[in-house]
């Protein structure tokens, strides 16, 4: 049952990356692919119906970890205290930028919120990517399962640890590039005209960088966590993830080149799904790796809530998840088709 909840946690957080990822990517790109107010509003109309619901997957992920692995939630959130607070402020500013922008037609007002939205949308994927890098690299858990990390220390993965080191910065950059690629393909799918054309260019430029970075991070992970590939190879789920990842990359590139916008975006979704799925499978049963003494790592066995709590959660969680997926199916159906530049109100 612990492993079921590990799977649920991985699923919810992956949904968060795939869904909120496209609006973060759109936010990181919009200053470049949408140069005037009308085009900006075309971008915002494309993500407008979705972004708020997408962000709920993060809260849902927090809820799942709280319920199923409270020790992990407690240790990680307090151990990364200042970094988490930065992420929260970035999310607050980002939401406000999206909501407040439209209320005044003033040029400087809109430029200010566009800039805020861009900074927040760019910074957050880097921080989230670095966070995942930290979990893979390991954190200095003490005997009671607590730790505190400075923002940076020696910049190495073996000396004094910090949240940022060469490896976690690399994973942060990979996350940003993956999200920009993802967002570009979403915008290409959901817009027309200049924004679509520029988004396709952005995706084309991001694609080789993404592939190279992905290879670099994979190699670096084997250096930082020796035995990583063995762990991947020994798990069938990781194999499935790897196949999905490669297939997603291939499909997204080919569909982009042949103008099948939706297929290209779905390819990018498959890539993210495969990459995160394989990572989760390789980590299992570890949730948070302890740097140094491996016996202190949080695993599904020692970090899970009591079976009674896990069983209670399973009684309602599946129904809630089906409901949530239903809302998203409804949203995507209601807002199907492209946002045409000509349809954006003056």
């Amino acid at each position: 049952m612990e492993t079921i909840w590990f799977g649920i946690s991985a699923f919810v957080l992956t949904m968060y990356v795939v869904l909120d990822g496209f609006d973060f990517g759109a936010g990181a790109l919009h200053l470049f692919v949408a140069r005037d107010d009308r085009a900006r509003r075309q971008v915002l109309s494309a993500i407008g119906p979705f972004w708020d619901g997408n962000e709920v997957w993060l809260l849902a992920g927090g809820g799942v970890l709280f319920l199923a692995f409270p020790a992990v939630l407690a240790s990680v959130l307090s151990g990364f205290y200042l970094a988490i607070m930065l992420v929260l402020w970035v999310l607050v500013l980002r939401g406000i930028a999206l909501e407040f922008r439209s209320h005044l037609a003033d040029r400087m007002w809109r430029a200010f919120w566009d800039g805020t939205f861009w900074i927040a949308s760019t910074l957050a994927p880097v921080l989230f990517g670095a966070a995942l890098g930290n979990l893979v690299r390991g954190v200095p858990l003490d005997a009671d399962g607590w730790f505190a990390l400075p923002l940076f220390a020696s910049w190495t993965t073996t000396g004094e640890l910090g949240i940022l080191d060469w490896y976690t910065v690399l994973t942060g950059v990979l996350a940003l590039v993956a999200i920009v690629h993802h967002g570009a393909l979403f915008l290409a799918w959901k817009t027309d005209g200049v924004v679509r054309a520029r988004s396709l260019v952005a995706a084309r430029v991001a694609f080789p960088v993404l592939v190279l970075l992905w290879i670099a991070v994979s190699a670096a992970t084997e250096v930082v966590v020796p035995g990583w590939f063995d762990a991947l190879l020994s798990r069938p789920v990781a194999w499935a993830g790897a196949v999905l990842l490669v297939a997603g990359l291939v499909v997204s590139a080919r569909a982009r080149a042949t103008g099948r916008d939706r297929a290209a975006f779905l390819g990018s979704c498959a890539f993210l799904l495969g990459a995160l799925g394989a990572t989760a499978a390789a980590l299992h049963p570890v949730l948070v790796r302890a740097a140094g003494d491996a016996s202190r790592s949080f695993t599904v066995e020692n970090a899970a809530a009591d079976p009674a709590s896990l069983a209670a959660g399973l009684r309602w969680w599946p129904a809630g998840c089906v409901l949530a997926l239903g809302y998203f199916a409804l949203l995507f159906r209601l807002h199907r088709g492209k946002i045409a530049l000509d349809d954006v109100d003056d």
Binding site: R41, S45, V64, A68, L88, G95, E99, F100, S102, H335
Partner: protein, 455 residues
């Protein structure tokens, strides 16, 4: 400055208080918008539709602020109260996860449709969307209040071998009697906040002689809903809440009332200043035997004073608890009087011409927010020194590895950020009020409704 516990409490208290300004507004407005749309559907006239549209715009702004200030709350359990989260996550993680799954997804799906989908959906389906949003936002309140109720009066849990609390009986935890009473009391309080805002803007427009039709229906909705909700806050829900405190937190009741000595025929202290050092209530005005009746339904019942309890289970700030409670009750009583008077004038068809009363109504809107805040301060200070009543002390719940300096820094950061958000919110709402129900602001950006018609 170097006590991390103080800063954790200050930070959580501040961010929660600021956050809750917005949900109480939107939960109240959601109900009133449903009422207005219902009146419009039943042929009440265009003014009801215009009023519903205007208040939906304010609802949208409030929702935006509620969402962004709510995100930190969910994570502050882990960042600031890690030991508490680890000890009780198996239990309260249930309701926090339910809130995301059952309430937030529903709200986030429907809000866009409510704000931008009226033309496309048509009046009936748009009304259903408004009802759905009302359901989502009130469900969210239920899950959060149930989480809080576990901290106030833990039930349905079991102690695991590792010292953590786990679900013993999920139904008992979800149907905690404290939660059921508190959620009713709380929702009535939220409707008071929403109603006072609606009445205030209606009064403001009436005083200025603007937007006569929408002003009239806003005033009418706000005043009647304000009276009904103010009365329900006090009786029966406030009364039930008092009984609940008397039954499960008698030491908190004693502190709320500044009652230092036990005894029968306990009086109710209307006014007075608690002097904890000398264990007296200075300059009191008391109503004899009323507290005994409120607490136990019997004028001669024995009501324990603080002297009946060891000092290490007294609420840690008796004075603040006392004043918070009295501010809440005092304001609540004034609300009933004000809205009662306004309803009387409304029934005599003289409200629109009673300018002094309109002035009071126009300026009264901040006070329900103060009363709701004071009410939550009563609940939370009354819970001290416990984080989970009788099970886990607040001092044992904070994050062990977070330094006070980090918490001071982030508290200042939140203060600055939230100050800016508050100013922007007031400016944008003020602008909507100044523009009036017909002055459409530029709401084009997230409007995806237009394109779906073509698709």
């Amino acid at each position: 400055m170097d006590d991390p516990l103080f800063w954790h409490r200050l930070q959580f208290g501040f961010t929660a208080t600021f956050h809750y300004i917005f949900p109480q507004l939107t939960m109240g407005l959601a109900l009133l918008v449903v009422v207005m749309k219902l009146a419009a559907l039943r042929g009440g006239g265009a003014a009801w539709d215009d009023a519903a549209r205007f208040w939906t715009r304010i609802l949208g702004l409030g929702f935006a602020l509620g969402v962004v200030t709510g995100i930190p709350m969910e994570f502050q359990f882990g960042t600031n109260w890690a030991a508490f989260s680890r000890t009780t996550g198996g239990v309260i993680g249930q309701t926090l996860a339910m809130e995301g799954l059952f309430a937030f997804f529903l709200e986030s799906t429907l809000l866009g449709l409510l704000l931008f989908g009226e033309r496309r959906l048509g009046p009936r389906r748009h009304f259903v969307v408004a009802c759905g949003l009302l359901l989502g936002s009130w469900l969210s309140a239920y899950f959060i209040v149930t989480t809080n109720a576990f901290m106030q009066h833990p039930v349905g849990h079991a102690l695991a071998a590792d010292g953590s609390y786990q679900v013993g009986d999920l139904a008992a935890f979800l149907l905690n009697p404290w939660a059921l009473v508190q959620v009713l009391h709380n929702q009535c309080g939220a409707v008071v906040s929403g109603a006072f805002c609606v009445a205030s803007v209606g009064a403001f427009w009436t005083l200025r002689g603007e937007h006569a039709d929408v002003a009239r229906v806003s005033l009418r909705t706000g005043v009647i809903a304000g009276l009904v909700a103010s009365m329900l806050v006090a009786f029966p829900t406030g009364h039930w809440q008092g009984r609940m405190v008397a039954a499960h937190q008698p030491v908190a009741l004693a502190a709320m009332e500044g009652r230092f000595e036990s005894g029968p025929r306990a009086p109710l202290a209307v006014i007075g200043q608690p002097d904890v050092a000398n264990r007296t209530l200075d300059n009191p005005v008391r109503l004899p035997a009323l507290l005994s009746w409120i607490a136990y339904g019997d004028f001669s019942a024995d009501v324990a004073g603080l002297d009946a309890f060891a000092e290490d289970v007294w609420p840690t700030n008796v004075e603040l608890l006392y004043y918070a409670f009295h501010v809440m009750v005092g304001l609540g009583t004034l609300f009933i009087a004000l809205m009662g008077l306004a309803t009387l004038q409304l029934l005599r068809r003289r409200l629109a011409t009673t300018r002094p009363l309109l002035w009071v109504l126009a300026l009264a809107f901040p006070f329900p927010f103060i009363a709701n805040t004071a009410g939550w301060m009563t609940a939370e200070f009354g819970r001290q020194p416990w984080l989970v009543y009788g099970l886990l002390r607040t001092a044992d719940g904070a994050s062990p590895t977070v330094h006070a300096g980090a918490t001071v820094f982030t508290t200042l950061g939140f203060a600055g950020l939230y100050f800016v958000l508050g100013v922007l919110f007031l400016a944008l709402v003020g602008r909507e009020v100044a523009l009036g129900p017909h002055g459409h602001a530029a709401h084009s950006a997230p409007d995806a409704s237009a394109h779906a018609e073509d698709a």
